[in-house]
Amino acid sequence: MIDKIVPTPEAAVEGIRDGATVLVGGFGTAGMPFALLDALIAQGATDLTIVSNNAGNGDAGLAALIAARRVRKVICSFPRQHDSWHFDRQYRAGEIELEVVPQGNLAERIRAAGAGIGAFFTPTGYGTLLAEGKETRTIDGRDYVLEYPIRADVALIKARAGDRHGNLVYAKTARNFGPIMASAAALTIAQVSEVVPLGALDPECVVTPGIFVSRVVVAHEATPPSW
């Protein structure tokens, strides 16, 4: 019997180790797994490399993890925001590393990890600072940069509903990085607003098949606005 439902966010984040690479879902606050991040802070893992689109908003979620000084390095596309003060402060103090990746390359590198692709040539970033030192190639007259997969130990994501097999559906633009992050981590943990009985999700509409998901936990939380 497959039952990936765990009772609490604390149980969901069990076993995450110091030094882990952790994919964190969300675009701003939409899709950010706040309950899992709170549990991770309580759990205590530190020296983490975080891969996420942003570097935290306000004082909650990923920002709180950074504020708690658990993050060694951030790999993201857009760290600097009006409310990324915790990241900003540590970055300016030289206390946190940053790798900036164009958003589509970030997504494709995560997807490549999940899809077993060893590397790929992308046109995005060619001829810019963010491609400096990287291998390039002209193919059929277009210039490309070679980019490598981003594999992770853990993915923390948020979905709308899930079942005991770990099948997931998302809410609107909160889907963002969830499906690809789910595929790219050894341990994928999803917080959901609702657990539904097996068979309740239409097989035509499942977005993340359960094979990619290790643990599912219900968390009743309102998403704070990003604006």
């Binding site: 596309s77 940053l98 958003q103 589509g104 494709e108 060619y126 633009t173 990085f177 499906p179 990003s226």
Partner: protein, 212 residues
């Protein structure tokens, strides 16, 4: 001369977007274009965080924190909308499926190089987001920006001084003074604002322009 205001600039871009086009409007000034799309045209807006068929800002009190645009502002969906994840959304851009992308810029070169992500200042925290993907992510990339900086320096230049977002990707620049088509054989200026002639524009932007 009568410089265009922000709404008039946006309206000029909007006028050139044909019925049936799939369009991404960048953050900032380009977002205004959505408010000026001509009546009777059906234009599908893409937002790179995972939505085609984006509608206008919702009425106050109807905002949904899980339904936002790339600028992280609340939006709505129109009939025919679809949601997808980030890899699919950026594949859609990188694969050249969007007809038009409208972006803001610090600088654009006459060769179509775009600089809009980084001031290059030593203390600036670099943040690129989808800028580099948008730069190469449509059949045609338009820039919408003021022609001159606040200090009066032209932003359409021979070579960009700011760090590049993409090379040879911009084909047209809409400004508050005129519209510039960046062609292999040079820059064509058209739709000059009232009270501005081509010679005066040449002096202002310090470029060898043809009148279009």
């Amino acid at each position: 001369m009568n410089k265009l205001d922000r709404d008039a600039m946006a309206a000029r871009v909007a006028r050139d977007i044909p019925d049936g086009a799939y369009v991404n409007l960048g953050i900032g000034l380009p977002t205004l274009v959505a408010d000026h799309l001509p009546e009777g045209r059906e234009i599908v807006l893409h937002t790179e965080n995972g939505l085609l068929g984006m509608g206008p800002r919702p009425a106050a009190g109807h905002e949904d924190p899980e339904l936002i645009n790339a600028g992280k502002r609340p939006v709505t969906t129109l009939p025919g909308a679809s949601f997808f994840h980030h890899a699919d959304s950026f594949a859609m851009m990188r694969g050249g499926h969007l007809d038009i992308c409208v972006l803001g810029a610090f600088e654009v070169s006459v060769g179509g190089d775009l600089a809009n992500w980084h001031t290059g200042k030593p203390d600036a925290i670099p943040a690129v987001g989808g800028a580099m993907d948008l730069a190469i992510g449509a059949k045609r990339v338009f820039v919408l920006m003021e022609a001159l900086t606040k200090e009066g320096r032209p932003k359409l230049v021979r070579e960009c001084a700011y760090p590049l977002t993409g090379r040879a990707c911009v084909s047209r620049v809409y400004t508050d003074l005129a519209t510039f088509d960046l062609r292999p054989d040079g820059v064509v200026a058209r739709d000059l604002v009232e009270g501005l002639d081509i010679d005066a524009l040449r002096r202002l932007v310090d470029l060898d322009l043809r009148a279009g």
